[in-house]
Structures are given as structure tokens and as C-alpha cells.
């Protein structure tokens, strides 16, 4: 495939000194990922990144679920920027794709309709007494990893290669809708041929799967999931993606959006329970990774430290293929070394679960 068009969509990504905004979903469902990101930046890449305890949710979930009005979210975003100014940073980076989309959208709105920016400044001042400057650079955290992908490749402990066959691992990448579908120019490679994750996969030795539903939404869709009556619609979108990618027999899925990681992972279980379809090999689901986890594995992080035990689809088959050494007995030990319980065995995980001392009640 002649895929050069991503070069048409480039953007400036700051090299250092980032102000970090966390993601609601990521820190709840993939807490290890955010920690790993901070570690990779500060320890492996020796960059300055500030994780500010004062910042809040961007309220994007509320916004996209029609419960938070535009004026409110503008003020919340303005406050984040004010905090960034206070901390002495100019480069804003968010862990969440929806937040990233919101920041992009609001900056563009302020650009097109300056009166809304004025109003926001007024609102922010009234509410908090703060003023703000817009960031010099806005990037998603996956952009930053993309930016440093070659540096990571140099420090890599292992590659995205099947150690048994020597073949590159087949990777399905999924880009969150709000990354570049709103403003194609805001994403590396645009919306049609996004390259942000593909670039990482290729730099680290994997092989990208270009399947027909590559651009399709993961199915989260906010109110489509949040309202139970709409969940059939949500899951049918994931179903469509999984149906389309399954024939390629991918080794894993990697996402840059926390919501997508969660839905592509957990809906696999639901689909298997509903109609018996399991999309991965050997009766197991397809492991779904965040790009932080993928980078962490490449850099030699321990999978349990990366929080990969939190996944619905077990990652062990993938770890085995990559030749990652891990301690199976440590999987369900907390940071304090105590056993934290384990989930019931699920249809998407083929290996037997003998040590069933703790079950999640249905």
C-alpha cells in the first residue's frame, strides 16, 4: 500500500516541558498506563512533565452526553489553561482523546468567534478570579509518544515481533474519533490515514493491519453506551469492527483513546456471551492495549506494573509471543504485595482458572 498521505498532515509537537492533563476513563480503568506514561517521559526520555494535582476533568463526558453546556465546559477548559500558566508551562497535553478533541474544538471556536473567548475569560474571572493564556502547543499524549518513537525504539528492550516465528506482530490500531475526525489537521496523518499509532507500530517492528472498518467508531459514543436502551447500538459498532478485523488474525489491538481501549476490550466478552463469537486465536479474545502499555512493553516494563491485569481479555498469550517474562502469580497482587482478588473466568479467556478463590458475583 502506498500510504504517504500522512505526511500531508503534520503538526508541531513540543519536544519538552509538558503540562499533563489526566483522563477520567484512563485513570479509572488503566491507571497503570498513565503512570507508565509519566515514567517513560521523565525517566526513559528524560523530559519534563508536570502532573498537576489541581486540574480536573474536562467534563467532556458530560458535554457529549448533553448535560454540561458549552459555556461551562469552556470555563473548565480555561481553568485548566490557567493552572498550566500558573505552573509555568506552555505545552498542554491531555491523556484523553475526548479532552483533546474538546481542547481543539474550543481553541478553534475561540479563534472563529472571539466573542466566546471573551465571554469565557469573563466567566473564569467571575468564578475563580483567574485569567489564562492559551497554550503554545497542544498535543495528545499519543502524539508525544509518536514524537519520541525513534528514541523509544533506540532504548527498546524488545520489538513487536513474535519470538517463536520471528514474524512481526500483526497490530490493529484504533484511533479515537475525536482525535482527528473533527479537525483532520489536528491529527498526525489526518482522519483518513491516521499515522500516530501506525508510526509507533512500524518503528517498533510490528506490522499494521489495514482492514476495512479501520476508521469506524469503537461504539462508545457516550449516550449510546450510557443509556442502557442504546447499548445494543454501541455494541453493534464494536461488533462490526471486530468482525472486520478478525479475518486478519491480529495479535493485538492498540488504541490511543481510553474509551476505545475499554470498549473494544470489554465488549469482546459481552459479544462472546451474547452470540458465542470469540475473535482471537485459540478460543481467546484479542488483547487490547493502550499505546502506553505497548510502549512500556517495548521498553521492558513489567506487565503487571503497567496494569495489564486490569484487562478483560487476558494478555498472557501476547506476552508469551513477545517473549515478555512475567510472574503469573504476581498478576493479582496489589502494589502492597497483597492479593487483591481475581475475576471469575470469562469466555474470552481460554486458559483454565484453577485458583478460583474469589469470584465476582454476577
Amino acid at each position: 500500500m502506498k500510504r504517504n498521505s500522512w505526511t500531508d498532515y503534520q503538526k508541531d509537537i513540543a519536544d519538552d516541558h509538558y503540562y499533563y492533563a489526566r483522563s477520567c476513563i484512563r485513570q479509572n480503568f488503566f491507571p497503570g498506563s498513565e503512570k507508565a506514561f509519566l515514567n517513560i517521559l521523565s525517566k526513559d526520555l528524560e523530559r519534563d512533565i508536570f502532573d498537576d494535582p489541581l486540574h480536573t476533568s474536562c467534563t467532556g463526558i458530560g458535554y457529549h452526553s448533553d448535560v454540561v453546556p458549552l459555556e461551562t465546559i469552556m470555563t473548565v477548559v480555561a481553568r485548566q489553561f490557567a493552572l498550566m500558566n500558573d505552573a509555568g508551562y506552555e505545552n498542554f497535553t491531555s491523556s484523553c482523546i475526548t479532552s483533546f478533541g474538546i481542547y481543539t474544538e474550543l481553541l478553534a471556536t475561540w479563534e472563529e468567534f472571539p466573542e466566546t473567548e471573551e465571554k469565557t475569560r469573563e466567566n473564569l474571572y467571575k468564578a475563580t478570579g483567574r485569567e489564562f493564556k492559551k497554550p503554545k502547543n497542544l498535543a495528545h499524549t499519543s502524539d508525544i509518544i509518536f514524537h519520541h518513537r525513534e528514541a523509544i525504539a533506540q532504548k527498546a528492550k524488545r520489538k513487536l515481533v513474535n519470538v517463536y516465528t520471528g514474524e512481526p506482530l500483526k497490530v490493529v490500531e484504533h484511533i479515537g474519533c475525536h482525535y482527528a475526525k473533527i479537525f483532520p489537521k489536528s491529527g498526525i496523518g489526518g482522519s483518513e490515514f491516521p499515522y500516530v499509532l501506525a508510526g509507533m507500530v512500524e518503528s517498533w517492528g510490528g506490522e499494521l493491519v489495514d482492514y476495512s472498518e479501520r476508521r469506524h467508531c469503537c461504539g462508545f459514543g457516550f449516550r449510546n453506551y450510557l443509556v442502557q436502551a442504546n447499548r445494543g447500538y454501541s455494541i453493534s459498532n464494536s461488533h462490526r469492527k471486530l468482525e472486520s478485523m478478525a479475518p486478519y488474525k491480529p495479535d493485538f489491538i492498540v488504541c490511543n483513546c481510553p474509551g476505545c481501549s475499554m470498549f473494544l476490550d470489554k465488549w469482546q466478552y459481552t459479544i462472546a456471551e451474547m452470540d458465542g463469537t470469540i475473535y482471537g486465536q485459540n478460543g481467546a479474545g484479542i488483547p487490547v492495549l493502550t499505546y502506553e502499555e505497548m510502549a512500556g512493553l517495548v521498553l521492558g516494563y513489567d506487565p503487571w506494573e503497567l496494569g495489564m491485569q486490569m484487562h478483560q481479555v487476558d494478555v498472557e498469550p501476547l506476552l508469551d509471543k513477545m517473549g515478555v517474562e512475567y510472574d503469573p502469580s504476581a498478576k493479582y497482587l496489589g502494589k502492597n504485595g497483597k492479593y487483591m482478588g481475581r475475576p471469575d473466568k470469562a469466555v474470552v479467556n481460554s486458559y483454565s482458572c484453577n485458583d478460583a478463590r474469589y469470584f465476582i458475583k454476577r
Binding site: 500500500m1 502506498k2 483518513e192 490515514f193 482492514y211 476495512s212 479501520r214
Partner: protein, 337 residues
């Protein structure tokens, strides 16, 4: 003897030059390429009669060859235009008494609609590529195999705000129907699908040809624009559209996708407009003095238009324009005496 410069050696320019020469003018025909013929050079057959494009072109060439007082300058690109002088890219300047601009149009670059994958996937081709294939007698997929299912997408770079081409390119619909018929003649077992937004069969014999394509050649017409193209596991192109007549999304794998690329205004137009006081339309095509009585004249005395410089036109219309512009030039020069 009055000297007229005709800029552009496409069908309109060739026709105009030959007509002017027949009216005893000294004519210089400027062509930026190395050969005359413009866009129909390399075109296989013309709708709706399936006349070989070569036939029309050789007729025009003959007409030029037989005419007196015509200087043909190929490889000459005009950069500045006034009614009395034309400057060439080579730096040369030509004096004249009137100028006819017949620089036509630019084919829309299908790469810009990147969701269709032109230049990205093999077997996504444009209508112009297909004509070339017809000319070579070799319509095949990249790997040499025979296509079993072909999709033809209308309005690529036409009627599309997203690529700043609001206008209708007029000839693509009928070209799509013509090419569908030719493909079916070549591969009767293949399924050909035309994806259209509207079918605009404006000319004589066009509608009849459309119907023939439907009924006799069993070409499928789906009202809906393809939204994206992606590869399939079996190396086919997966296309997605809405079948708007049933209100349902539609998808299928095709072996070949033909993009009917539209006509867009030349980039030069705005430059000429700025430097020669000519008027452009919002579409970028030049604005004739008016749309009815003076549609081959520009707003500047002594500068005339012929062919698709003012709007997308088919070959017949461009030829008529060429002849009309010649008469207008003559009338204008005579009125000046």
C-alpha cells in the same frame, strides 16, 4: 493583415484558430504542451456516439494543416495577456490585434479526495486513466487479472464544498455511463455499479444511452456517494455508500474503482484576472461578458473566450465556442475600423 493569438491548443483553440484563418486573419496558436489536442488527446471515445476522440482530433489537425497563415507554437505558455500583447514564459512577447483564451480546464486531482484512496490503493483509477487503458486495449487490474466487479463513482471533485468545487462538471455523468457500457462490452460477466448523486443527462442521446446502460447492459445505478474506500482481506477494495433510495447503508468489495474526476478552473485564471482586469466566477472559471449575447467575449475589449475556460463544457460545445469566438473576433475587428 490582423494578427490574432489563440491561447490553448485544445479542441476549442484549434477550432477557433482554423476558423480565424479561414476568415483571413494571421493566427498564432499557443500550446503549453508539446502537442496539440488538449484534454481529448489520449481520450478513447466520445459520448454519446462512441466516436473515437482521434477522429475529431485528426479532423481538427487537418483543418489547421490546410489553413494559411497559422503559426503553431507548442511548448509555449502564456503568462501575461492583454488585448494587444501576449507574454510567454520564455520571455518572448507577441504583438497582436486580439486574443482568444481557450486554455480550458484542469482535471481535478483525485488524490485530494483521499478517502477514495487514489494513489494509495492499486485499482483505484480515474476516468482519464481508464480512457488510457481503453486506448491501450488493456483494461486490467494491477496484477493483470480481470475485474469482476467495478464501481464507478460520480462527482469526484464536483459539487463538493469540501474540496471547494461547488459547480457541476457536467460531462462526468454521461462519461460514467459511457465508460460503464464500454466496460460491460469488454467484460460482459462483470458487474458494474455507478454511484451517483444525481444523474444529469442533459444532451441529445444521453438519456437514451443511460437507459441502454441500465436495461441492455444491466449496469447497476446506486444513488449515493461512496464515503470511503478501504482494502479488504481478499485484496479487493471495500467501498461504503448509502443506497439512498432504500435508506440503507451499502457496502461491497470491488475489484476496480473508477473515479469520475471533475473539471476545475485553471490556477492561472485568477492570475489573468488580476493582471488583465478579467473577471472570474466564484467557481474560478472566467466570467464572460454576459451569459447570453456575449458569452464568448470577456469583459475586456479584444479578449475573447472559447471552450471550457468559462465553464465545464463537452467537446461539441467547446467546438461551437471556438467557431463562435472566431466570428466575434471578426465582428469586433470590423466594427473598430
Amino acid at each position: 493583415m490582423k494578427h490574432i493569438i489563440v491561447i490553448g491548443g485544445g479542441v476549442a483553440g484549434m477550432q477557433c484558430a482554423a476558423e480565424l484563418a479561414a476568415h483571413n486573419f494571421k493566427v498564432t496558436l499557443l500550446e503549453k504542451d508539446s502537442d496539440m489536442g488538449g484534454k481529448i488527446r489520449g481520450w478513447h471515445k466520445l459520448f454519446p456516439t462512441f466516436t473515437p476522440a482521434d477522429e475529431v482530433l485528426s479532423g481538427l489537425r487537418l483543418k489547421l494543416a490546410q489553413a494559411q497563415n497559422i503559426t503553431i507554437m507548442t511548448g509555449s505558455k502564456a503568462v501575461e495577456i492583454s488585448s494587444t500583447k501576449v507574454a510567454l514564459a520564455s520571455g518572448k512577447e507577441l504583438e497582436c490585434d486580439a486574443v482568444v483564451i481557450a486554455t480550458g480546464y484542469t482535471l481535478f486531482d483525485a488524490r485530494i479526495k483521499e478517502e477514495y484512496g487514489y494513489g494509495i490503493y492499486d485499482n483505484v483509477i480515474t476516468s482519464a486513466d481508464l480512457e488510457e487503458m481503453f486506448n491501450k486495449g488493456d483494461v486490467r487490474m494491477k496484477d493483470g487479472s480481470t475485474p469482476r466487479r467495478i464501481a464507478i463513482l460520480h462527482c469526484v471533485g464536483s459539487r463538493d464544498e469540501k474540496v471547494c468545487q461547488r459547480h457541476c462538471s457536467k460531462v462526468c455523468c454521461v462519461t460514467g455511463v459511457k465508460q460503464a457500457i464500454e466496460l460491460k462490452q469488454l467484460y460482459p460477466a462483470a458487474d458494474v455499479f455507478n454511484f451517483y448523486m444525481d444523474i444529469r443527462m442533459f444532451g441529445p442521446g444521453y438519456e437514451e444511452m443511460y437507459r441502454e446502460a441500465q436495461q441492455t447492459y444491466n449496469v447497476h445505478f446506486v444513488r449515493g456517494r461512496i464515503s470511503e474506500v478501504s482494502p479488504n482481506i481478499d485484496k479487493r477494495l471495500q467501498i461504503k455508500a448509502e443506497d439512498t433510495l432504500t435508506g440503507r447503508p451499502l457496502r461491497m468489495g470491488v475489484d476496480m474503482l473508477v473515479l469520475l474526476t471533475g473539471m476545475r478552473a485553471n490556477d492561472d485564471n485568477s492570475h489573468f484576472a488580476a493582471n488583465s482586469n478579467l473577471r472570474c466566477q466564484p467557481s474560478g472559471f472566467m466570467q464572460p461578458r454576459d451569459s447570453f449575447l456575449h458569452n464568448t467575449e470577456s469583459n475586456v475589449e479584444g479578449i475573447f473566450y472559447a471552450g471550457a475556460i468559462t465553464a465545464p463544457k463537452n467537446v461539441g460545445e467547446a467546438l461551437n465556442d471556438g467557431a463562435t469566438a472566431a466570428l466575434r473576433v471578426k465582428a469586433w475587428l470590423e466594427s473598430k475600423k
